[in-house]
């Protein structure tokens, strides 16, 4: 990697902000009345679940080992459904949040068990659990939304402070801050990057790779469980298909946010910015009365374009390096010259 990580993430952030300005500008021109504080609040509200799930997705990708979690959407649906079914089975209402979070954590740890202990390829293991979890959410409910979310939960799910939805303030912001601090300022966070950069070396220096990976899949599940809880408090019912397409969207957010698919590179800020961009785009399309099915295609196209442009900039870097190396001595700048002296 020729660019330093910090420079790379600055490039990513600038790109995302520019894209965001294009989207907002386009919306402002095509439908000026859509630009309002209500729209901002709704974008934030719609970002909550995707942001939580994308953070989990980012963590497992970051740690390398072909890490990927296709089951996140299934966990969101199943933890919401399990919470509601638990309520019906007689679990006291104040325990509902704990049930959702615990369900998410356990489902995630099961992924971790398959991947870190049994060494099944993450792609296939989480493909299997995507089937199992999302299928269970549908099968247990017969496909029907589960109503009866306790009334005290709704003000939290739907309320806002200074125009910012409460779930964003109370879950998304703290969780992203914590993840950012852990990743950049603790040994454990450096382990994750180290595992993603070179797993062999990470093992050789004594990092407990398997345990760390297991915990990361557990965390991804926990975050998805939190997403399920937010969906309950926001929508007022447990929908068995609430997590549909989240695997595609969270992967896109992670890639768009500058996370390297092979691990070892990526920042939480980039992922959060990518989530906001994706949801803004979706909201803009909604405001312009574009059918929701177009979004899937646009998200897919964005994913492919981001990956293609990643390759192109790498090739561009290569070209630039070769060009610079071929220049006469006096023209050379940067590390090449320094290393010669």
């Amino acid at each position: 990697m020729s660019r330093s990580s910090a420079q790379g993430s600055a490039v990513v952030l600038t790109g995302l902000v520019l894209l965001w300005i294009v989207v907002v500008g386009g919306l402002a021109i095509l439908n000026p009345s859509a630009i309002s504080t209500a729209t901002v609040a709704s974008i934030l509200q719609f970002s909550t679940i995707l942001a939580l799930v994308s953070l989990g997705q980012m963590l497992v990708i970051l740690a390398g080992g072909a890490g990927i979690d296709l089951s996140v959407g299934g966990i969101v649906s199943l933890s919401a459904v399990l919470g509601m079914l638990g309520l019906k089975a007689g679990i006291p209402a104040p325990m509902l949040p704990a049930v959702c979070l615990a369900a998410g954590l356990l489902l995630g740890l099961f992924n971790g068990l398959l991947i870190a202990r049994l060494h099944i390829l993450p792609l296939i293991a989480t493909l299997g659990t995507l089937f199992a979890y999302s299928g269970l959410a549908l099968a247990l409910t017969g496909g029907a939304a589960q109503s009866g979310v306790p009334a005290w939960l709704l003000p939290w799910g739907r309320g806002a402070l200074l125009g910012i939805p409460l779930p964003v303030l109370t879950i998304v912001v703290p969780v992203f801050l914590a993840a950012g601090i852990v990743l950049s300022a603790t040994a454990w966070g450096r382990w994750i990057y180290a595992m993603g950069c070179n797993e062999r070396s990470a093992r050789l220096v004594g990092i407990p790779v398997d345990r760390t990976r297991m915990i990361l899949y557990g965390l991804s599940g926990l975050l998805a469980g939190a997403g399920g809880l937010v969906s309950l408090a926001w929508l007022g019912s447990g929908r068995p298909n609430i997590g549909q397409n989240l695997e595609l969207e969270s992967l896109t957010a992670a890639m768009l946010g500058g996370v390297a698919i092979f691990g070892g590179r990526g920042r939480v800020g980039g992922v959060l910015a990518a989530v906001l961009l994706l949801v803004t785009l979706r909201t803009a399309l909604l405001q312009l009365n574009v059918n929701t099915l177009w979004q899937v295609g646009i998200v897919g196209a964005l994913l492919v374009l981001v990956l293609l442009s990643d390759r192109l900039t790498e090739r561009g870097d290569d070209l630039w390096r070769r060009l610079r190396a071929s220049l006469p001595n006096g023209w050379r700048r940067g590390p090449i010259e320094l290393s010669r002296r």
Partner: protein, 320 residues
Amino acid sequence: MGLLAPTRRELILLAAGAASILVFSAVSPYFGTVDNAAAILRNSVELLLIGLGITLLLAMGSIDVSVGVAMGLVAIVVGKCLEGGLDPALAALAGPLAGAALGLLTGAVVILGSIPAIVGTLGLFGIYRTAIFAALGGQWLSGLPTGLTELLSARVMGIPVTFHVIAAVYLAVWVALRHTPYGPHLLAIGNSAEKAKLSGIRVSAVQFATFVVSGALAGLAATFYVATYRNVEMTTGGSLALDAIAAVVLGGTSVLGGTCSLLGTVLGVLVLRILQNGLLLSGVPSLWQTVVTGGLLVGVLAIEAIAARRPRLLAAGAGR
């Protein structure tokens, strides 16, 4: 390792298939009938064709999750051809051709862009789905002419044409793998693309060929789909690629590349369809089908992984 000699996994699947047939026959009086057997085989056609393509892709160390919706897209092409009054035989050919073109496009994105296949094709999945929506314009394609249906259900030597076509495809893929340089080259790339390149294999060419073949097989599946159902809806093919990957992995082809089992894929597809059909006839709601697919996939892989960790447990039975 022989490509056709039965492996342990194939024997396990054979046993699992036989056992579930016995159990379901005992549970449901409707299961063990000739009509139902025909229905199971009929339902396996698309999954098998797409599964064969996925087998080749996995053996190469690649994957394509967009191939199911690609089939949906091609089904629209075939449907429009029929609606336009094209000769059924030509419409049947339009399927594989359009499929091959889509395969070429998928291959171009993954290979020329050197994007990891899983993310690249996940992106294409979204694009193709929207393309289906755009092509249908929010309406189903339904009540298509019956010409294609008659063509493919006609009997030659007492056996439906569909069966002949599938057998020919299977044989062609088997011959290509076993008796042409394509097979060893494919597996070499699956083991290590780098080393394959160094030993003079034209890696990109083989990769492109495999994506095109997989696309053409999906296109052929679309032809059969249209012939059977005579309609195309928005969700056509939506979950087919993931089902196929599950069936292929069940059949013993590793996602890591370098190995493949065509017979295993056939057995994996049949076991999956037998289980789904049998559970349905035993009164289990159809919503449980995805749970069964996922549970089977996770269960088989987990058992195998545990067995591999404790070799002594199965050493006596495995014989290797």
